[in-house]
Amino acid sequence: MPAAISYRPRRLSRVTDRVMRLALWGLALAFIAVLAVFVGAILKQGWPVLNLGFLTRMPETLDAGGGIKPEIFNSLYLVALSLAISLPIGLGAGIYMAEYAGQGRILRFLRLCIETLAATPSIVLALFGMIVFVQMMGWSFSIRSGAVTLALLNIPVITRVTEVSLLAVPRELKEASYGLGATRLQTILKVALPYAATGILTGLVLTAGRAFGESAILVFTAGTNTSQTFPDFRLTVPGETLSVHLWYVTSDGTLPDAREIAAGTAAVMIVVLLVLNLSVRFLDRFIRRRTR
C-alpha cells in the first residue's frame, strides 16, 4: 500500500473483509472437494467390477455376472446417429441465424425458440418422442426412435455453437472473399465455415458427451432392452445404452448383482466423460494456438 493513503477501513470492516475472502476460498475449495469425492467414490465403487470380462460380456436378465458389451455399442451408435441427424439441421439453423437473419425480429424469434428448446426438460422431449416416433410412426422402442428424439436434444446446442463460431469469423476475411467475387454461399462454405470449424467441433464433442449421458429420453424411446446379437446395426431393434442400463438395473431390482453392475457402468461412463473433457481441452488449446 502506498504511504499516501491515510485512511484505513474500520477494524470491523477489515476483519469482515478477511473472513469473507477466506470464506470464498473455502467455498471454492469445497466445490473442488465435492467433485473429487464424487469422482473418487464412483471410481472406487466401480473399480472391483471393472475388468475385460465386464466390458465384453452380454448382460444377464436374471443371474449375476452380466456384462455391458452391447450397451457400450448402443451408446456409441446412438450418439453417432443422433449427431448425424442433428448436425446438418443445427449447422443450417446456425448458418441462417449468423449469416442471413439480420438483426431484426426474425433473429430474435429464432433465438427465443432455440433457447426454449435448449431449456426444455429431457423428460418432456421423451414424452414428445414417445407420442410421435414410438406410437404414431409405429417405430416402437427402437434405435431409430431413440436417435431421432436424442437429436432434438442436440439441435439447440449445435445451432448455438455454430452461430457463435460463425459470428466470431473476422469481417475482413468475409469481405476479402466477396472482393474476390465469391458468392455469399461460397463465402460461407469455403471461408467462414472452415474458420469456425474448430469451434463447432468443440461444441460437437460437448454435445456428444451430453447425448452419451442422457437417459430420460432413451428410456422412453430406445427402450430398456437390447438385441441379443452383437453388433446389431439394425435401426428397428431396441437399444439400451449405458446410462439407461445403469438406471434400469438399479430401479428394476431383479439382478442379484445390480449394485455392482451399476457401479461398474457408472465408472465406465465417468472414464469416458473424463476422456471427452480432456479432448475438449486439447481442442481448445489447439484453437487458441492457431488463432495466435
Partner: protein, 346 residues
C-alpha cells in the same frame, strides 16, 4: 437472352431479401463485372431457403411439442376419440391433493408441491453459493485458480444425471442415514435437493462469473477509492450492480432444476402420498419430517409410472398433461429471463 426463367432467378426469392439487410453486401457495387455460372447463382439464391428451413424446423418443433402434449393431455379432461377411461375436471386434478389413481382420485398437487419444494431447497443451496463462487472466480481468484474452477464446473455440468443418481443412492443416502438418522432411510427432499444443487450450481456459477466480469472496472475502483475494503466493494457495489444478471442466472438454474428427472427419481423415494405420511409421522420435528420423508415430484412420477400405465387410460393421459405443465413452466422461465434481460438494457 432474358427469358422468363432468368428474370425469375434475378428477382429476390422472397419479399424480405436478406441481402439487403447485410452491411457487407450493401457496400459492394450493385452490378459486379464478373458473373458466376448459372449453377452458382442458382445455388446462392436458393441455399438460404435451405438454411431457413432448418431454422423453421426448430420453430415447428416448439409448436409440435406443445401440440402433441396438449392433444394427449387433453384426453384426461375431455371425452376424446380413443379415450377409454373416465374423464376428470380441472378442479379435481389441479386443486386436489388426493392422489389415489386406483380409486379414481387424481389430484396432482402433491407432485406440484414436491417439484416446488425440491427445486426451492436446491436453489436455496445453489443460488448463494453459486453467486459467491462467481464473485470469487471473477474478482478474487488468481489466474490458476480461475482456470481450475472453470474446469471443475465444466466437469460437474458434464456428469450425467444417472451418475449423480447412483452416487446419491450408493454413497449419500447410506451416509446420511447412518450418520444423522440412526439408520432410518434418508430418501426425501433433503438429499434430492443437495444433489440437484450440485447439478445446477455450474450454470449459476458460469453465468454469474460472466455477470461480474462484464461490470465496468470503474465501479470497483471507485468503491475502493472511497475507502471500502474488497468485500465491501463486492457486497455493496458489485452484487447490486450485477443483480439483474444474477437473477437471470438463478432463474435459469431453476429451469434446469425443475425439469431434472432421473437423478431425483433415484433418491427421492417416489411416494405420491408423502403429504399424508409427513402428517402421520409425529415422532420427529416437522423440519426433519419434511426433509426426510420419501416424496415425489412431477418428473419422478412421469419416470415412475409412464411405463406402467396403459395408453389411453386416464392416468396415462394425465401424465402427458403433467409433461405439458413442465413444458409450460420452461416457457415461462425463458420468458422471465427475457424480461429480466430487457430490464437490464433499459
Amino acid at each position: 437472352m432474358p427469358d422468363a426463367s432468368d428474370t425469375l432467378l434475378d428477382a429476390p426469392p422472397c419479399a424480405s431479401d436478406p441481402t439487403r439487410e447485410s452491411p457487407v453486401v450493401e457496400s459492394l457495387p450493385k452490378e459486379p463485372a464478373f458473373r458466376h455460372s448459372r449453377l452458382q447463382r442458382l445455388a446462392d439464391r436458393w441455399s438460404h431457403l435451405l438454411f431457413l428451413t432448418c431454422g423453421l424446423l426448430v420453430v415447428a418443433l416448439i409448436g409440435g411439442i406443445l401440440y402433441f402434449l396438449a392433444a394427449r393431455g387433453a384426453g384426461a379432461f375431455l371425452p376424446l376419440a380413443g379415450n377409454t377411461d373416465k374423464v376428470l375436471t380441472l378442479k379435481e386434478v389441479f386443486l386436489s391433493a388426493d392422489w389415489d389413481p386406483n380409486s379414481g382420485k387424481f389430484g396432482i398437487l402433491p407432485f406440484i408441491a414436491g417439484s416446488l419444494s425440491v427445486t426451492g431447497l436446491a436453489l436455496l443451496l445453489a443460488a448463494p453459493t453459486g453467486i459467491l463462487t462467481g464473485v470469487f472466480i471473477a474478482k478474487l481468484a488468481p489466474g490458476w485458480m480461475k482456470t481450475l474452477m472453470r474446469q471443475v464446473m465444466d466437469l460437474l455440468v458434464g456428469i450425467p444425471s444417472v451418475v449423480y443418481g447412483i452416487f446419491g443412492l450408493m454413497v449419500v443416502l447410506p451416509w446420511v442415514s447412518g450418520k444423522w438418522l440412526s439408520d432410518s432411510p434418508a430418501a426425501g427432499f433433503a438429499v434430492s435437493a443437495a444433489i440437484l444443487a450440485v447439478m445446477i450450481v455450474p450454470t449459476i456459477v458460469s453465468l454469474s462469473t460472466d455477470a461480474f466480469e462484464s461490470l465496468p472496472l470503474a465501479l470497483e475502483e471507485g468503491s475502493q477509492a472511497l475507502g471500502s475494503t474488497r468485500w465491501q466493494a463486492i457486497w455493496h457495489v458489485l452484487i447490486p450492480a450485477a443483480r439483474p444478471r444474477l437473477l437471470t442466472a438463478t432463474v435459469l438454474g431453476l429451469g434446469r432444476a425443475i425439469g431434472e428427472a432421473m437423478a431425483i427419481q433415484m433418491v427421492i423415494g417416489n411416494n405420491p402420498q408423502w403429504i399424508a405420511l409427513m402428517r402421520g409421522a409425529t415422532d420427529q420435528t416437522p423440519v426433519l419430517r419434511f426433509l426426510f420423508t420419501p416424496a415425489a415430484t412431477l418428473t419422478t412420477e412421469l419416470v415412475q409410472e409412464l411405463p406402467n400405465t396403459a395408453a389411453g387410460s386416464t392416468w396415462n393421459n394425465l401424465l402427458f398433461a403433467m409433461g405439458l405443465l413442465l413444458y409450460l413452466m420452461t416457457m415461462g422461465i425463458i420468458l422471465a429471463t427475457r424480461r429480466l434481460g430487457r430490464q437490464r438494457n433499459a
